[in-house]
């Protein structure tokens, strides 16, 4: 195990509503309808937004760049190049010269200011403006240590996203994944973790054995993943803060497909015995494992509903792989997918409204979503190999991996409308992404 040291220290980001200084700023003007972005329409036209470098001491340009990258990749915003705008916004408490910004075509403006206090602490103030109604939409202040400037930028991105879309953001998050290297016939797979925007990638294993399917706990402080060696397979629980790792149970056959329950108290996974794979649930407090499926078919890829009461999984008990939902104790199994093709890797949305899955049909792979009763199935992607969706914490964006016939897997994202499909920020060879919940 290599240490993920320094990597997951708890952040002390204080978020304060900045109110007093801005009381009278909003201009008395016509109460113009405020800008808003309808995320569920898939943003046919992204919102033009200006994010000039923050003023003040240090990191102001980098913070603006991180925010710009986040908003651009969401597909909902079109950040503009505003380097030529004469309004330099020296003080965040001074109202912008709106005509300058209106001329850029921007509908929204983010300006901010970075100060470093006498104690070395970082303070970032920012404002979100509606350029045409000339109203302030948001004003917040974040305090942290200077080395946390990226996380401050992500928190600002989340606040802006939420203010303009009405949905929670997903930028102050991390992604665990499998970093791949080497030729297809001798591929090296290492457990890795990074910020959602691809920054700070770190390897957690050395590649001497195969790793697969990392998944976060609800607190983002733990991963569960599968390791595969010639001597057998293991499921591990890895604490990212302490680097402490433990093995989940001992079974004579293969163990695989682990996933935490939403409250973090259980792990569901598959155990193979004599060629038959069934789903087990391990209670992490009592350390008792319970077998919850008994069908002589492949039962795997369990994923809990957000309230923990149900599990969706895939099984070939009907002849080929389809999706089934059961109660968390294994009772009440019912099939929910009925389309042609093979359905695998179901993942329940953290919002509870959709189940994402991998589907094979017509020689192609797809990432799709359906309602939790199997209705409203929609395929969002198509390629030679698309696999393994993971939900952003807002339940509106998915990350998955795509492998072309060249054999190099990459991470991609798609929104639930299917209209915003693009490579993830991380450009290395990677698979099996797992999106963390929002960090504290």
């Amino acid at each position: 195990m290599m240490s993920p040291k320094g990597n997951v220290m708890r952040l002390k980001v204080l978020m304060l509503m900045a109110v007093a200084l801005l009381g009278g700023v909003a201009l008395a003007g016509p109460a113009a309808a405020q800008i808003e972005v309808d995320i569920n329409a898939g943003a046919v036209k992204p919102l033009p937004i200006a994010v000039p470098a923050f003023s003040g001491s240090g990191r102001g340009a980098e913070i603006a760049q991180v925010i710009t990258g986040n908003l651009e990749r969401s597909g909902l915003f079109q950040p503009l190049n505003v380097s030529s705008v004469s309004d330099k916004l020296p003080d965040v408490n001074v109202q912008p010269r709106f005509p300058d910004w209106q001329a850029t075509g921007a509908q929204a403006l983010i300006n901010g200011q970075v100060t470093v206090g006498p104690d070395g602490g970082l303070r970032v103030d920012f404002r979100l403006w509606d350029v045409f109604s000339q109203q302030q939409l948001l004003g917040l202040q974040f305090s942290s240590t200077p080395d946390n400037w990226r996380r401050v930028a992500h928190k600002i991105s989340d606040a802006v996203y939420e203010r303009l879309t009405g949905e929670k953001g997903y930028f102050d998050t991390r992604v665990a994944f499998v970093a791949e290297s080497g030729p297809k016939l001798a591929r090296i797979k290492r457990l890795a973790i990074m910020d959602q925007d691809g920054a700070n990638p770190q390897f957690l294993t050395d590649g001497s054995y195969i790793v697969m399917t990392p998944r976060f706990s609800a607190t983002s402080q733990e991963l569960t993943y599968m390791a595969l060696r010639p001597t057998g397979s293991s499921i591990y629980l890895l604490n990212l803060e302490t680097s402490r790792q433990e093995t989940v149970g001992r079974f004579p056959g293969m163990v695989f497909a682990p996933r935490f329950s939403p409250d973090g108290s259980k792990v569901a996974f598959s155990v193979e015995k004599g060629g038959n794979s069934d789903i087990y649930v391990l209670d992490l407090r009592s350390r008792q494992s319970t077998r919850i499926t008994t069908d002589p078919s492949i039962d795997t890829s369990p994923s809990f509903s957000p309230d923990g009461s149900k599990i969706v999984f895939n099984s070939d008990r009907g002849g080929q792989a389809q999706l089934y939902v059961m109660n968390a104790d294994g009772s009440g199994v019912r099939r929910i997918s009925y389309g042609g093709g093979r359905y695998t890797t179901p993942v329940w949305s953290p919002r509870g409204d959709f189940i994402a899955f991998t589907k094979q049909t017509g020689g192609q792979f797809h990432i799709g979503v359906m309602r939790t009763d199997g209705s409203d199935e929609r395929l969002l992607t198509t390629s030679y190999l698309d696999e393994g969706p993971t939900w952003a914490p807002n339940g509106r964006v998915l990350m998955y991996f795509r492998e072309g016939s060249g054999g190099t897997p990459r991470l991609w994202t798609v929104d639930i409308t299917g209209r915003i499909l693009r490579p993830a920020a991380y450009q290395g060879a990677a698979s099996d992404p797992a999106w963390s919940p929002l960090l504290d």
Binding site: G182, P183, K184, L185, A186, R187, K189, I210, M212, T213, L228, P230, G232, S233, G253, M254, F256, A257, S270, E272, G274, G275, N276, S277, P296, S297, I298, T300, S301, N314, D316, R317, G319, Q320, A321, R342, T344, T345, T358, Q360, Y384, L385, E387, G388, E403, S405, G406, G407, T408, D432
Partner: protein
């Protein structure tokens, strides 16, 4: 991406050896099978021919009887499966019967059956599918008299392809179970 040609060439040789041996046996069509029974033990299509150790080598160097090379070259270590299936095909049974005879002749040898799947499935599903294939081979060998205690099974899912291609021909090679000698070979 670099292509490991040396490894590929070696694997191709092994594949050739296995294929030529299989070609010696009659190749009846695969029989339809009930897919929902766990790891069924198929009966050999014909009585296995008795294993005879390799004759005195015509060339200066040949596999030592009882060695891993003997097993790989003269018996064959891999059998192949149909898409999403795990029943031992009739055309694979002579090779497995040969494995069983070889193992019965060298009782100190231990093996690990490694089940593999093509890339036309998800990782998790293919781990389960590979385990089914490994167990199907295990059950076959046990039915042929190989002690169960000498056999362990493992699934690599789709993680250990032997052909990097993206055609049906490549996938067919990657749907296999390999009998790896882990101990006791000369």
């Amino acid at each position: 991406m670099n292509f490991d040609t040396q490894r590929a060439a070696r694997l191709a040789l092994i594949g050739l050896a296995a294929a030529s041996l299989a070609a010696c046996a009659s190749r009846p069509k695969p029989e339809p099978v009930a897919p929902q029974q766990p790891a069924p033990v198929a009966q050999p299509a014909e009585p296995a021919k008795p294993y005879t150790p390799p004759p005195a080598p015509a060339q200066p160097i040949g596999p030592i009887p009882g060695s891993a090379q003997d097993f790989v070259v003269n018996i064959g270590e891999r059998i192949y499966f149909d898409t999403d299936e795990y029943v031992v095909r009739a055309d694979a049974q002579p090779l497995l019967a040969g494995q069983a005879q070889w193992l019965n002749r060298y009782p100190s040898v231990k093996v690990r059956i490694e089940g593999n799947a093509d890339e036309r499935g998800t990782r998790e599903y293919n781990l389960a599918l590979g385990a089914r294939r490994a167990n199907a081979v295990r059950d076959f060998l046990v039915a042929q008299g190989v002690a169960a205690a000498r056999i362990e099974t493992l699934s690599y899912g789709k993680e250990r392809p032997i052909d990097a291609g993206t055609t049906e021909e490549a996938w067919a090679k990657n749907r296999n179970a390999r009998t790896a000698l882990t101990d006791g070979a000369r």
